[in-house]
Protein backbone atom coordinates (compact mmCIF):
# COMPACT_ATOMS: atom_id res chain seq x y z
CA UNK A 1 0.00 0.00 0.00
CA UNK A 2 1.28 3.41 -0.89
CA UNK A 3 -1.03 4.69 1.79
CA UNK A 4 1.44 4.33 4.58
CA UNK A 5 4.17 6.52 3.14
CA UNK A 6 6.10 7.88 6.04
CA UNK A 7 7.46 11.33 5.63
CA UNK A 8 10.35 12.10 7.88
CA UNK A 9 10.29 8.49 9.19
CA UNK A 10 9.61 9.46 12.81
CA UNK A 11 10.14 6.58 15.24
CA UNK A 12 8.41 7.45 18.51
CA UNK A 13 10.01 6.28 21.75
CA UNK A 14 10.09 8.20 24.98
CA UNK A 15 13.84 8.71 25.15
CA UNK A 16 15.70 11.77 26.35
CA UNK A 17 16.64 12.57 22.77
CA UNK A 18 13.03 12.51 21.69
CA UNK A 19 12.14 14.93 24.43
CA UNK A 20 14.83 17.45 23.47
CA UNK A 21 13.80 20.71 21.90
CA UNK A 22 13.82 20.35 18.10
CA UNK A 23 16.17 23.32 17.84
CA UNK A 24 18.71 21.48 19.97
CA UNK A 25 18.51 18.47 17.68
CA UNK A 26 18.76 20.49 14.48
CA UNK A 27 21.68 22.56 15.73
CA UNK A 28 23.47 19.46 17.02
CA UNK A 29 23.01 17.74 13.69
CA UNK A 30 24.35 20.77 11.86
CA UNK A 31 27.37 20.89 14.17
CA UNK A 32 27.88 17.19 13.68
CA UNK A 33 27.88 17.60 9.88
CA UNK A 34 30.37 20.46 10.08
CA UNK A 35 32.66 18.44 12.29
CA UNK A 36 32.51 15.44 9.97
CA UNK A 37 34.22 17.70 7.49
CA UNK A 38 36.59 19.10 10.08
CA UNK A 39 37.75 15.59 10.91
CA UNK A 40 40.88 14.84 8.92
CA UNK A 41 41.69 11.23 9.56
CA UNK A 42 40.19 7.91 10.43
CA UNK A 43 40.35 8.72 14.17
CA UNK A 44 37.91 11.53 13.63
CA UNK A 45 35.43 9.18 12.03
CA UNK A 46 35.86 6.64 14.75
CA UNK A 47 35.12 9.33 17.31
CA UNK A 48 32.08 10.47 15.33
CA UNK A 49 30.88 6.88 15.03
CA UNK A 50 31.33 6.44 18.76
CA UNK A 51 29.20 9.49 19.60
CA UNK A 52 26.61 8.57 17.01
CA UNK A 53 26.31 5.06 18.45
CA UNK A 54 25.93 6.59 21.87
CA UNK A 55 23.07 8.72 20.55
CA UNK A 56 21.43 5.68 18.93
CA UNK A 57 21.63 3.70 22.18
CA UNK A 58 20.18 6.57 24.23
CA UNK A 59 17.40 7.16 21.69
CA UNK A 60 16.16 3.54 21.99
CA UNK A 61 15.57 3.44 18.23
CA UNK A 62 16.41 -0.07 16.97
CA UNK A 63 19.74 -0.15 15.15
CA UNK A 64 18.20 -1.91 12.16
CA UNK A 65 15.80 0.96 11.80
CA UNK A 66 18.62 3.49 11.81
CA UNK A 67 20.61 1.54 9.25
CA UNK A 68 17.59 1.15 7.00
CA UNK A 69 18.10 4.81 6.09
CA UNK A 70 21.31 3.79 4.36
CA UNK A 71 19.61 1.43 1.94
CA UNK A 72 18.60 4.17 -0.45
CA UNK A 73 22.05 5.70 -0.64
CA UNK A 74 24.23 2.62 -1.07
CA UNK A 75 24.31 3.28 -4.80
CA UNK A 76 25.47 6.88 -4.38
CA UNK A 77 28.13 5.86 -1.88
CA UNK A 78 29.44 3.17 -4.25
CA UNK A 79 29.53 5.65 -7.13
CA UNK A 80 31.51 8.14 -5.04
CA UNK A 81 33.86 5.38 -4.00
CA UNK A 82 34.51 4.34 -7.58
CA UNK A 83 34.99 7.87 -8.85
CA UNK A 84 37.35 8.79 -6.04
CA UNK A 85 39.26 5.58 -6.55
CA UNK A 86 39.74 6.11 -10.27
CA UNK A 87 40.18 9.82 -10.64
CA UNK A 88 42.44 10.82 -7.78
CA UNK A 89 45.92 11.48 -9.10
CA UNK A 90 48.97 10.45 -7.12
CA UNK A 91 51.25 7.58 -6.29
CA UNK A 92 50.17 4.49 -8.25
CA UNK A 93 49.35 1.38 -6.29
CA UNK A 94 47.76 -0.76 -8.96
CA UNK A 95 47.40 -0.44 -12.70
CA UNK A 96 44.55 -2.20 -14.49
CA UNK A 97 44.87 -1.26 -18.16
CA UNK A 98 43.92 2.41 -18.42
CA UNK A 99 42.73 2.54 -14.82
CA UNK A 100 45.28 3.62 -12.26
CA UNK A 101 44.46 3.24 -8.63
CA UNK A 102 46.48 5.50 -6.41
CA UNK A 103 47.24 5.51 -2.72
CA UNK A 104 45.64 8.93 -2.41
CA UNK A 105 42.61 7.59 -4.26
CA UNK A 106 42.19 4.76 -1.78
CA UNK A 107 42.52 7.19 1.12
CA UNK A 108 40.12 9.67 -0.41
CA UNK A 109 37.47 7.07 -1.13
CA UNK A 110 37.70 5.59 2.35
CA UNK A 111 37.36 9.07 3.83
CA UNK A 112 34.47 9.91 1.56
CA UNK A 113 32.61 6.68 2.29
CA UNK A 114 32.94 7.18 6.03
CA UNK A 115 31.88 10.77 5.76
CA UNK A 116 28.80 9.99 3.66
CA UNK A 117 27.67 7.06 5.76
CA UNK A 118 28.11 8.96 9.01
CA UNK A 119 26.40 12.00 7.55
CA UNK A 120 23.37 10.11 6.38
CA UNK A 121 23.02 8.03 9.52
CA UNK A 122 23.38 11.16 11.62
CA UNK A 123 20.71 13.13 9.81
CA UNK A 124 18.33 10.20 9.69
CA UNK A 125 18.83 9.88 13.45
CA UNK A 126 17.52 13.41 13.75
CA UNK A 127 14.42 12.69 11.70
CA UNK A 128 13.84 9.40 13.53
CA UNK A 129 13.82 11.23 16.84
CA UNK A 130 11.88 14.37 15.85
CA UNK A 131 8.23 14.48 14.81
CA UNK A 132 7.77 16.36 11.54
CA UNK A 133 5.70 19.02 13.21
CA UNK A 134 8.40 19.67 15.79
CA UNK A 135 10.95 19.71 13.00
CA UNK A 136 9.15 22.44 11.07
CA UNK A 137 8.58 24.40 14.28
CA UNK A 138 12.27 24.12 15.07
CA UNK A 139 13.33 25.18 11.59
CA UNK A 140 10.97 28.14 11.75
CA UNK A 141 12.40 29.26 15.10
CA UNK A 142 15.96 28.89 13.81
CA UNK A 143 15.35 30.65 10.51
CA UNK A 144 13.91 33.57 12.45
CA UNK A 145 17.40 34.17 13.82
CA UNK A 146 19.02 34.30 10.37
CA UNK A 147 19.33 37.84 9.00
CA UNK A 148 17.47 38.39 5.68
CA UNK A 149 15.57 35.13 6.07
CA UNK A 150 14.05 36.06 9.44
CA UNK A 151 11.22 38.02 7.86
CA UNK A 152 9.97 35.10 5.81
CA UNK A 153 10.51 32.40 8.44
CA UNK A 154 6.78 31.89 8.88
CA UNK A 155 6.21 31.56 5.13
CA UNK A 156 9.03 29.06 4.76
CA UNK A 157 7.81 26.86 7.59
CA UNK A 158 4.20 27.09 6.36
CA UNK A 159 5.30 25.95 2.91
CA UNK A 160 7.28 23.09 4.40
CA UNK A 161 4.45 21.88 6.57
CA UNK A 162 1.92 22.10 3.72
CA UNK A 163 4.30 20.20 1.47
CA UNK A 164 4.65 17.50 4.12
CA UNK A 165 0.90 17.47 4.61
CA UNK A 166 0.21 16.92 0.92
CA UNK A 167 2.88 14.39 0.00
CA UNK A 168 0.69 11.44 1.10
CA UNK A 169 -2.35 12.91 -0.67
CA UNK A 170 -0.45 13.37 -3.91
CA UNK A 171 1.08 9.92 -3.71
CA UNK A 172 -2.40 8.50 -3.34
CA UNK A 173 -3.56 10.57 -6.27
CA UNK A 174 -0.66 9.40 -8.43
CA UNK A 175 -1.48 5.83 -7.56
CA UNK A 176 -5.08 6.37 -8.59
CA UNK A 177 -4.18 8.03 -11.88
CA UNK A 178 -1.74 5.22 -12.64
CA UNK A 179 -4.39 2.60 -12.00
CA UNK A 180 -6.87 4.48 -14.15
CA UNK A 181 -4.40 4.61 -17.02
CA UNK A 182 -3.29 1.02 -16.55
CA UNK A 183 -6.90 -0.06 -16.81
CA UNK A 184 -6.96 1.62 -20.19
CA UNK A 185 -3.85 -0.17 -21.34
CA UNK A 186 -1.01 2.15 -20.36
CA UNK A 187 2.26 0.30 -19.89
CA UNK A 188 4.38 1.44 -16.96
CA UNK A 189 6.53 -1.68 -16.78
CA UNK A 190 8.07 -1.64 -20.22
CA UNK A 191 11.64 -2.93 -20.38
CA UNK A 192 12.47 -0.12 -22.74
CA UNK A 193 13.64 2.76 -20.56
CA UNK A 194 12.69 5.51 -23.02
CA UNK A 195 9.26 4.01 -23.40
CA UNK A 196 8.86 3.77 -19.67
CA UNK A 197 9.85 7.37 -19.09
CA UNK A 198 7.51 8.48 -21.84
CA UNK A 199 4.66 6.60 -20.24
CA UNK A 200 5.05 8.75 -17.15
CA UNK A 201 4.40 12.00 -19.00
CA UNK A 202 0.63 11.48 -19.21
CA UNK A 203 0.65 10.98 -15.44
CA UNK A 204 2.18 14.34 -14.73
CA UNK A 205 -0.46 16.46 -16.42
CA UNK A 206 -3.44 15.19 -14.40
CA UNK A 207 -1.31 15.17 -11.27
CA UNK A 208 -0.38 18.81 -11.74
CA UNK A 209 -3.94 19.82 -12.54
CA UNK A 210 -5.17 18.17 -9.38
CA UNK A 211 -2.34 19.67 -7.34
CA UNK A 212 -3.36 23.14 -8.48
CA UNK A 213 -6.99 22.40 -7.70
CA UNK A 214 -5.97 21.30 -4.22
CA UNK A 215 -3.84 24.39 -3.75
CA UNK A 216 -6.78 26.54 -4.72
CA UNK A 217 -9.15 24.76 -2.34
CA UNK A 218 -6.65 24.88 0.46
CA UNK A 219 -5.98 28.59 0.00
CA UNK A 220 -9.71 29.23 0.17
CA UNK A 221 -10.06 27.10 3.32
CA UNK A 222 -7.12 28.87 4.95
CA UNK A 223 -8.56 32.28 4.17
CA UNK A 224 -11.93 31.25 5.51
CA UNK A 225 -10.19 30.46 8.77
CA UNK A 226 -8.83 33.99 9.02
CA UNK A 227 -5.33 33.26 7.76
CA UNK A 228 -3.49 36.49 7.01
CA UNK A 229 0.12 35.37 7.05
CA UNK A 230 2.48 35.23 9.99
CA UNK A 231 1.71 38.64 11.44
CA UNK A 232 -0.25 38.62 14.67
CA UNK A 233 -0.37 34.85 14.64
CA UNK A 234 0.21 32.89 17.81
CA UNK A 235 1.08 29.24 18.21
CA UNK A 236 -0.43 26.36 20.10
CA UNK A 237 2.99 25.10 21.04
CA UNK A 238 5.79 27.40 22.00
CA UNK A 239 9.31 26.06 21.93
CA UNK A 240 11.10 26.43 25.22
CA UNK A 241 14.56 25.23 26.13
CA UNK A 242 14.62 22.89 29.13
CA UNK A 243 17.49 21.87 31.36
CA UNK A 244 18.10 18.75 29.28
CA UNK A 245 18.66 20.97 26.24
CA UNK A 246 21.50 22.81 27.93
CA UNK A 247 22.93 19.51 29.06
CA UNK A 248 22.66 18.23 25.50
CA UNK A 249 24.44 21.28 24.13
CA UNK A 250 27.29 20.76 26.57
CA UNK A 251 27.60 17.09 25.66
CA UNK A 252 27.54 17.92 21.95
CA UNK A 253 30.20 20.59 22.45
CA UNK A 254 32.41 18.10 24.28
CA UNK A 255 31.89 15.50 21.56
CA UNK A 256 32.77 18.02 18.87
CA UNK A 257 35.85 18.98 20.85
CA UNK A 258 36.91 15.33 20.85
CA UNK A 259 36.41 15.06 17.10
CA UNK A 260 38.41 18.22 16.60
CA UNK A 261 41.21 16.88 18.83
CA UNK A 262 41.55 13.78 16.64
CA UNK A 263 43.08 16.00 13.98
CA UNK A 264 46.23 16.04 16.07
CA UNK A 265 46.54 12.32 16.63
CA UNK A 266 49.91 11.73 14.93
CA UNK A 267 49.92 8.00 14.20
CA UNK A 268 48.01 6.77 11.21
CA UNK A 269 45.76 3.74 11.27
CA UNK A 270 46.03 3.24 7.55
Amino acid sequence: MKNDVVVGQYYPTNSVIHRLDPRTKIMSTLLYIVFLFVAKNIWGYIAALFFLSLAVIVSKVPVGYVLRGLKGVVFIVCMTLVFNLIWTPGEALLTLGPIIITRQGVMASINMAFRLLLLITGTSMMSLCTATIALTDGIEALIKKVPFLGKVSHEISMMMSIALRFIPSLTEELDRIMKAQKSRGADFESKNLVKRIKSYVPLLVPLFVSAFQRANDLAMAMEARCYKGGEGRTRLRILKYQKIDFAAYIIVALAMGCIFATRYIPFKLI
Binding site: I162, R165, S169, M220, R225, T234, R235, R237
Partner: protein
Protein backbone atom coordinates in the same frame (compact mmCIF):
# COMPACT_ATOMS: atom_id res chain seq x y z
CA UNK B 1 -37.85 37.44 16.03
CA UNK B 2 -34.13 37.05 16.54
CA UNK B 3 -31.45 39.41 15.32
CA UNK B 4 -30.47 39.32 11.67
CA UNK B 5 -27.09 37.71 11.22
CA UNK B 6 -26.92 37.76 7.44
CA UNK B 7 -28.46 40.24 5.11
CA UNK B 8 -28.21 40.20 1.31
CA UNK B 9 -29.51 43.20 -0.60
CA UNK B 10 -30.00 42.84 -4.38
CA UNK B 11 -26.83 40.82 -4.68
CA UNK B 12 -25.59 39.82 -8.12
CA UNK B 13 -22.43 37.96 -8.90
CA UNK B 14 -20.92 37.63 -12.35
CA UNK B 15 -18.20 35.11 -13.10
CA UNK B 16 -15.77 36.30 -15.70
CA UNK B 17 -13.96 33.35 -17.11
CA UNK B 18 -12.46 32.99 -20.56
CA UNK B 19 -14.81 30.23 -21.55
CA UNK B 20 -17.96 31.89 -20.39
CA UNK B 21 -17.68 35.63 -20.01
CA UNK B 22 -20.30 37.35 -17.95
CA UNK B 23 -22.16 34.34 -16.56
CA UNK B 24 -24.50 35.54 -13.87
CA UNK B 25 -24.23 33.12 -10.97
CA UNK B 26 -26.48 35.19 -8.75
CA UNK B 27 -29.14 37.55 -9.97
CA UNK B 28 -30.33 40.26 -7.59
CA UNK B 29 -30.81 38.03 -4.61
CA UNK B 30 -32.14 39.48 -1.37
CA UNK B 31 -32.18 37.32 1.71
CA UNK B 32 -32.24 37.64 5.50
CA UNK B 33 -31.03 34.94 7.82
CA UNK B 34 -31.66 35.24 11.55
CA UNK B 35 -29.63 34.06 14.51
CA UNK B 36 -30.29 30.48 15.52
CA UNK B 37 -31.85 29.39 12.24
CA UNK B 38 -30.98 26.11 10.52
CA UNK B 39 -31.23 26.99 6.87
CA UNK B 40 -30.98 24.36 4.17
CA UNK B 41 -30.12 25.65 0.72
CA UNK B 42 -30.83 23.35 -2.21
CA UNK B 43 -30.71 23.73 -5.94
CA UNK B 44 -29.41 21.93 -8.97
CA UNK B 45 -25.87 22.37 -10.27
CA UNK B 46 -25.14 25.89 -11.37
CA UNK B 47 -28.04 27.37 -9.44
CA UNK B 48 -25.66 29.70 -7.59
CA UNK B 49 -25.76 28.09 -4.19
CA UNK B 50 -22.00 27.72 -3.80
CA UNK B 51 -21.50 31.29 -4.96
CA UNK B 52 -23.95 32.35 -2.30
CA UNK B 53 -21.95 30.44 0.32
CA UNK B 54 -18.68 32.11 -0.60
CA UNK B 55 -20.29 35.55 -0.44
CA UNK B 56 -21.23 34.98 3.19
CA UNK B 57 -17.60 34.56 4.14
CA UNK B 58 -16.17 37.47 2.15
CA UNK B 59 -14.27 34.93 0.07
CA UNK B 60 -15.81 36.64 -2.92
CA UNK B 61 -17.43 40.06 -3.08
CA UNK B 62 -20.71 40.81 -4.85
CA UNK B 63 -20.53 42.34 -8.33
CA UNK B 64 -23.41 44.54 -7.30
CA UNK B 65 -25.55 44.80 -4.20
CA UNK B 66 -24.49 44.46 -0.59
CA UNK B 67 -23.79 41.59 1.78
CA UNK B 68 -23.93 42.30 5.51
CA UNK B 69 -22.67 39.71 7.97
CA UNK B 70 -23.30 40.56 11.61
CA UNK B 71 -24.07 44.06 10.43
CA UNK B 72 -20.70 44.45 8.67
CA UNK B 73 -20.41 45.23 4.98
CA UNK B 74 -18.39 42.47 3.31
CA UNK B 75 -17.04 44.85 0.67
CA UNK B 76 -15.19 46.85 3.33
CA UNK B 77 -11.72 45.28 3.72
CA UNK B 78 -11.39 46.38 7.34
CA UNK B 79 -14.18 43.96 8.27
CA UNK B 80 -12.97 40.94 6.28
CA UNK B 81 -11.38 39.16 9.24
CA UNK B 82 -14.23 40.03 11.58
CA UNK B 83 -16.75 38.67 9.10
CA UNK B 84 -14.83 35.41 8.88
CA UNK B 85 -14.84 35.27 12.67
CA UNK B 86 -18.61 35.63 12.77
CA UNK B 87 -19.38 33.34 9.86
CA UNK B 88 -17.11 30.40 9.16
CA UNK B 89 -17.23 27.74 6.52
CA UNK B 90 -16.76 24.00 6.04
CA UNK B 91 -16.00 23.00 2.45
CA UNK B 92 -16.80 20.05 0.27
CA UNK B 93 -13.53 18.19 -0.14
CA UNK B 94 -12.36 16.78 3.19
CA UNK B 95 -8.84 16.30 1.83
CA UNK B 96 -8.21 19.83 0.76
CA UNK B 97 -9.05 21.83 3.83
CA UNK B 98 -6.65 20.42 6.36
CA UNK B 99 -3.60 22.60 6.72
CA UNK B 100 -1.47 20.92 9.34
CA UNK B 101 0.15 17.51 9.47
CA UNK B 102 -1.51 16.57 12.75
CA UNK B 103 -5.17 16.74 13.74
CA UNK B 104 -4.81 18.95 16.81
CA UNK B 105 -2.50 21.34 14.99
CA UNK B 106 -5.10 21.67 12.29
CA UNK B 107 -7.78 22.48 14.81
CA UNK B 108 -5.45 25.05 16.30
CA UNK B 109 -4.93 26.77 12.95
CA UNK B 110 -7.94 29.09 13.21
CA UNK B 111 -7.39 30.19 16.83
CA UNK B 112 -3.70 30.69 16.01
CA UNK B 113 -4.69 33.03 13.22
CA UNK B 114 -6.85 34.96 15.67
CA UNK B 115 -3.79 35.53 17.80
CA UNK B 116 -5.07 33.87 20.98
CA UNK B 117 -2.79 32.95 23.85
CA UNK B 118 -1.39 29.38 23.75
CA UNK B 119 -3.28 28.14 26.82
CA UNK B 120 -6.52 29.50 25.41
CA UNK B 121 -5.83 27.82 22.07
CA UNK B 122 -5.19 24.54 23.89
CA UNK B 123 -8.53 24.80 25.70
CA UNK B 124 -10.43 25.57 22.53
CA UNK B 125 -8.73 22.78 20.58
CA UNK B 126 -9.57 20.22 23.25
CA UNK B 127 -13.20 21.28 23.62
CA UNK B 128 -13.75 21.45 19.84
CA UNK B 129 -12.26 18.03 19.20
CA UNK B 130 -14.40 16.60 22.00
CA UNK B 131 -17.49 18.27 20.55
CA UNK B 132 -17.06 16.41 17.26
CA UNK B 133 -15.89 13.19 18.91
CA UNK B 134 -12.36 13.32 17.51
CA UNK B 135 -10.45 13.96 20.71
CA UNK B 136 -8.92 10.49 20.70
CA UNK B 137 -7.54 11.12 17.24
CA UNK B 138 -5.77 14.36 18.10
CA UNK B 139 -2.29 13.04 17.34
CA UNK B 140 -3.25 11.31 14.09
CA UNK B 141 -2.18 12.38 10.64
CA UNK B 142 -4.82 13.43 8.10
CA UNK B 143 -4.19 10.52 5.75
CA UNK B 144 -4.88 8.07 8.57
CA UNK B 145 -8.47 9.32 8.83
CA UNK B 146 -11.59 8.45 6.86
CA UNK B 147 -13.42 11.11 4.86
CA UNK B 148 -16.07 11.52 7.54
CA UNK B 149 -13.44 11.85 10.24
CA UNK B 150 -11.56 14.45 8.24
CA UNK B 151 -14.74 16.42 7.80
CA UNK B 152 -15.36 16.25 11.55
CA UNK B 153 -11.86 17.60 12.12
CA UNK B 154 -12.65 20.40 9.66
CA UNK B 155 -15.72 21.24 11.75
CA UNK B 156 -13.62 21.19 14.93
CA UNK B 157 -11.24 23.63 13.26
CA UNK B 158 -14.15 25.92 12.56
CA UNK B 159 -15.88 25.72 15.94
CA UNK B 160 -12.57 26.36 17.68
CA UNK B 161 -12.93 29.90 16.34
CA UNK B 162 -16.31 30.23 18.08
CA UNK B 163 -18.26 31.52 15.09
CA UNK B 164 -21.91 32.55 15.40
CA UNK B 165 -22.72 31.07 12.05
CA UNK B 166 -21.29 28.13 10.08
CA UNK B 167 -21.82 27.58 6.37
CA UNK B 168 -21.53 23.98 5.19
CA UNK B 169 -20.85 24.11 1.48
CA UNK B 170 -21.85 20.64 0.25
CA UNK B 171 -19.79 19.26 3.10
CA UNK B 172 -21.53 15.90 2.98
CA UNK B 173 -21.21 15.38 -0.77
CA UNK B 174 -18.07 13.26 -0.66
CA UNK B 175 -18.94 11.15 2.38
CA UNK B 176 -20.45 7.71 2.84
CA UNK B 177 -23.94 7.46 4.38
CA UNK B 178 -22.63 6.91 7.91
CA UNK B 179 -20.29 9.89 7.66
CA UNK B 180 -23.13 11.98 6.33
CA UNK B 181 -25.46 11.07 9.19
CA UNK B 182 -22.70 11.90 11.70
CA UNK B 183 -22.13 15.27 10.15
CA UNK B 184 -25.79 16.17 10.13
CA UNK B 185 -26.09 15.17 13.78
CA UNK B 186 -23.22 17.47 14.63
CA UNK B 187 -24.90 20.29 12.71
CA UNK B 188 -28.09 19.86 14.72
CA UNK B 189 -26.16 19.77 18.00
CA UNK B 190 -24.36 22.96 17.08
CA UNK B 191 -27.65 24.54 16.09
CA UNK B 192 -29.23 23.60 19.40
CA UNK B 193 -26.32 25.34 21.11
CA UNK B 194 -27.23 28.54 19.34
CA UNK B 195 -25.03 28.45 16.24
CA UNK B 196 -26.74 29.53 13.05
CA UNK B 197 -26.30 26.75 10.49
CA UNK B 198 -26.47 27.25 6.74
CA UNK B 199 -26.30 23.92 4.98
CA UNK B 200 -25.94 23.73 1.24
CA UNK B 201 -26.63 20.34 -0.27
CA UNK B 202 -27.96 18.33 -3.19
CA UNK B 203 -29.88 15.94 -1.02
CA UNK B 204 -33.33 16.87 0.17
CA UNK B 205 -33.31 14.10 2.79
CA UNK B 206 -30.53 15.85 4.61
CA UNK B 207 -32.46 19.03 5.32
CA UNK B 208 -35.77 17.60 6.42
CA UNK B 209 -34.80 18.67 9.93
CA UNK B 210 -33.95 22.24 8.94
CA UNK B 211 -36.00 25.13 10.27
CA UNK B 212 -36.09 26.74 6.85
CA UNK B 213 -35.38 25.69 3.28
CA UNK B 214 -34.30 27.96 0.47
CA UNK B 215 -34.52 26.64 -3.08
CA UNK B 216 -32.21 28.20 -5.65
CA UNK B 217 -32.63 28.11 -9.40
CA UNK B 218 -30.70 29.97 -12.09
CA UNK B 219 -29.18 32.42 -9.65
CA UNK B 220 -32.45 33.31 -7.99
CA UNK B 221 -34.31 32.23 -4.89
CA UNK B 222 -37.32 30.33 -6.18
CA UNK B 223 -38.58 28.90 -2.94
CA UNK B 224 -38.28 29.86 0.72
CA UNK B 225 -40.21 28.26 3.56
CA UNK B 226 -40.35 25.56 6.18
CA UNK B 227 -39.64 21.99 5.02
CA UNK B 228 -43.36 21.26 5.35
CA UNK B 229 -44.22 24.09 2.98
CA UNK B 230 -41.52 23.22 0.48
CA UNK B 231 -42.19 19.48 0.42
CA UNK B 232 -45.94 19.84 0.24
CA UNK B 233 -45.55 20.63 -3.43
CA UNK B 234 -43.66 17.68 -4.93
CA UNK B 235 -44.71 18.49 -8.48
CA UNK B 236 -43.07 21.87 -8.30
CA UNK B 237 -39.90 20.32 -6.87
CA UNK B 238 -39.76 17.80 -9.66
CA UNK B 239 -40.19 20.53 -12.23
CA UNK B 240 -37.10 22.11 -10.74
CA UNK B 241 -35.25 18.81 -10.90
CA UNK B 242 -35.05 18.38 -7.17
CA UNK B 243 -35.60 15.02 -5.62
CA UNK B 244 -38.20 14.61 -2.95
CA UNK B 245 -37.32 12.73 0.26
CA UNK B 246 -38.51 9.13 0.10
CA UNK B 247 -41.09 9.49 2.87
CA UNK B 248 -42.55 12.56 1.22
CA UNK B 249 -42.70 10.79 -2.14
CA UNK B 250 -44.33 7.76 -0.55
CA UNK B 251 -46.98 9.72 1.29
CA UNK B 252 -47.75 11.74 -1.83
CA UNK B 253 -48.13 8.57 -3.84
CA UNK B 254 -50.42 7.10 -1.17
CA UNK B 255 -52.53 10.23 -1.12
CA UNK B 256 -52.80 10.25 -4.89
CA UNK B 257 -53.73 6.59 -4.69
CA UNK B 258 -56.80 7.58 -2.70
CA UNK B 259 -55.72 7.24 0.91
CA UNK B 260 -56.76 10.03 3.23
CA UNK B 261 -53.34 11.29 4.33
CA UNK B 262 -52.68 14.94 5.11
CA UNK B 263 -50.10 16.76 2.95
CA UNK B 264 -46.73 17.84 4.33
CA UNK B 265 -45.59 14.62 5.99
CA UNK B 266 -41.84 14.71 6.64
CA UNK B 267 -40.84 11.76 8.77
CA UNK B 268 -41.48 8.06 9.07
CA UNK B 269 -43.19 8.58 12.43
CA UNK B 270 -45.62 11.09 11.01
CA UNK B 271 -46.52 8.76 8.16
CA UNK B 272 -46.99 5.84 10.53
CA UNK B 273 -49.29 7.93 12.65
CA UNK B 274 -51.30 9.11 9.67
CA UNK B 275 -51.64 5.55 8.42
CA UNK B 276 -52.76 4.29 11.83
CA UNK B 277 -55.49 6.91 11.94
CA UNK B 278 -56.97 5.53 8.74
CA UNK B 279 -60.03 3.45 9.23
Amino acid sequence: MNKKIIELRDVSFVYDSENAPGVKALDEVSLDIYEGEFVGIVGKNGSGKSTLAKLLNALILPSSGKVFVGGMDSADPQYTTDIRKVCSMVFQNPDNQMVATIVEEDTAFGPENLGLAPDKIRRRVDESLKAVGMYDFKDKKPHQLSGGQKQRVAIAGVIAMHPQCIVFDESTAMLDPAGRADLINIMHTLNSEGVTVIFITHYMEEIVGASRIIVMGDGKIIGDGTPREIFSNPKWLEENRLSVPEIVALSTALREGGLDIPPGILSEDELVEALCRLK
